[in-house]
């Protein structure tokens, strides 16, 4: 026993090293698990405040652009609303009368506190948390397009998995043909992402619009993801390789909307019931 202790003491540096590295390895694996509420990430108050200060300083230089973007969005929304009212004037369908369907999606506006685009796994921190009803798993969009999913929350801040994260998959479809696949980033260029699993018989063209499919009840259907930039089909490959130019410029993300899907529990429980049969 004494010799064992001596041995450990003699090589204490190496053993400390081993213990620390194992602990780090465990943290890395644990952190890659999907959704969770944790303290040690940028949603904790001190980290978020420091990041928020740093973002605040940078924001002054972009204020003019942000203002213009917001004003444009306001005008666009007002036009859309007016068009909607006009076109629904004479209709009387269930979609218009059932409040559960009308209020299917609620939006919480949030400000970006911290954002990165150059890593392989990019995350975004925003300034709304559990206190505002944000939960892990919710979708996040901006006025330009889809942004990501909520990974973890604290009382007043949340961390999002950006679409620019090699682990993030979003169900999407080609608007023109209606075929759906998965959007997943390849880690290379923050302006482009990949649309995968579009089968051979479809004929996607550069310029096609890619939108969210709404099949998983997280994203509302029809949210813009991007525009098809380049289509490749390898000999013998079952699926196309489609390069999609992202609608959202992640480099200058300022305000986002968290989407609360009020019917998600209902849809999920129905779908799992279907699977059990």
């Amino acid at each position: 026993m004494e010799r064992l202790l001596n041995f450990v003491y003699q090589y204490r540096a190496f053993f400390t090293f081993l213990v620390l590295q194992l602990f780090c390895g465990w943290l890395i694996v644990e952190n890659n698990q999907y959704q969770n509420t944790k303290f040690f990430n940028s949603s904790n108050r001190l980290a978020a405040n420091i990041a928020g200060f740093s973002q605040g300083v940078r924001e002054y230089f972009a204020l003019r652009k942000i203002n213009v973007a917001l004003a444009e969005e306001n005008a666009r929304l007002r036009t859309r609303l007016e068009q909607r009212t006009q076109s629904f004037y004479q209709l009387d369908t269930r979609e218009l009368r059932d409040p559960a369907i009308i209020n299917r999606f609620e939006y919480v506006s949030a400000k970006v506190v911290s954002n990165s685009t150059h890593q392989f796994k990019n995350y975004i921190t925003i300034d709304k948390g559990q206190a505002d009803g944000v939960q892990p798993g919710m979708a996040v969009i901006s006025h330009e397009g889809a942004v990501g999913k909520v990974k973890s929350t604290s009382q007043h801040f949340s961390v999002l998995i950006s679409l620019l994260n090699i682990d993030e998959h979003v169900s999407a479809m080609l608007k023109r043909t209606g075929h759906f696949g998965t959007v997943q980033w390849d880690g290379l260029d923050p302006r482009y992402t990949q649309l995968r699993f579009i089968p051979r018989h479809v004929n996607p063209l550069p310029g096609d619009t890619v939108v969210t499919s709404g099949y998983n009840a997280i994203f509302p259907p029809g949210i813009l993801v991007g525009i098809v930039q380049d289509v490749k089909l390898k000999e013998e490959a079952p699926f196309y390789e489609i390069k999609v130019e992202l609608a959202q410029d992640f480099g200058r993300l300022a305000f986002v909307d968290v989407v609360k899907s009020n019917l998600k529990a209902e849809q999920d429980s129905l779908e799992t019931k279907g699977e059990m049969r």
Partner: protein, 169 residues
């Protein structure tokens, strides 16, 4: 606590703040990152105990990770560098040994020695960091490009800091 100890604590927070508030946003050409916080571990006094060095590295890496949302990643790379540092210092001891009480700085040991000291360690740090983040060797050449350009960036920044720092007597 000695004067050096207090200074080290101040440097710890300076490197941390600099890294997470400024350098995190500073990415050149989409591929060159500046992980200057490695310099904190590299610049600690030569005689420091390796166990302490690893614990300090662990703490700094952990704080950096909180801001990068990559729990464990920077910690892993930095503890590795802290472990290797003293062995590497012993390997490249200049003739006549190190002067006691001096840090492993450019001013004391000269440019050539400084590069031999920092470049391999920073390379190990970046290589471990980027390959773990990429989740394997799938994007080997792109990751290699990131590692090498970041190596240049980080070492260049370290050199600039070395010239800026007042020569401590």
């Amino acid at each position: 606590m000695t004067r050096g100890g207090i200074l080290s604590v101040v440097y710890f927070f300076m490197y941390l703040l600099l890294q997470v508030a400024l350098l995190k946003k500073l990415v050149l050409f989409d591929v060159a990152f500046c992980f200057l916080y490695v310099a904190f571990v590299l610049m600690l006094p030569i005689e420091i105990n390796v166990v302490w060095l690893m614990l300090v590295g662990f703490l700094l890496g952990f704080f950096v990770d909180i801001f990068y949302d990559s729990l464990g990643l920077h910690t892993f790379a930095l503890v590795l560098v802290a472990y290797l540092r003293n062995y590497w210092l012993a390997t490249i001891t200049p003739q006549g040994g190190y002067d006691s009480g001096q840090g492993p700085t450019l001013a004391v040991n000269g440019m050539q020695w400084f590069l031999v000291y920092t470049v391999p360690l920073v390379f190990v740090h970046h290589a471990v960091l980027f390959f773990i983040e990429a989740g394997g060797f799938g994007l080997f050449w792109f990751t290699m490009l990131k590692i090498l350009s970041s190596l240049l960036f980080t070492v260049a920044t370290m050199l600039i800091l070395q010239y800026l720092a007042p020569a401590r007597s």
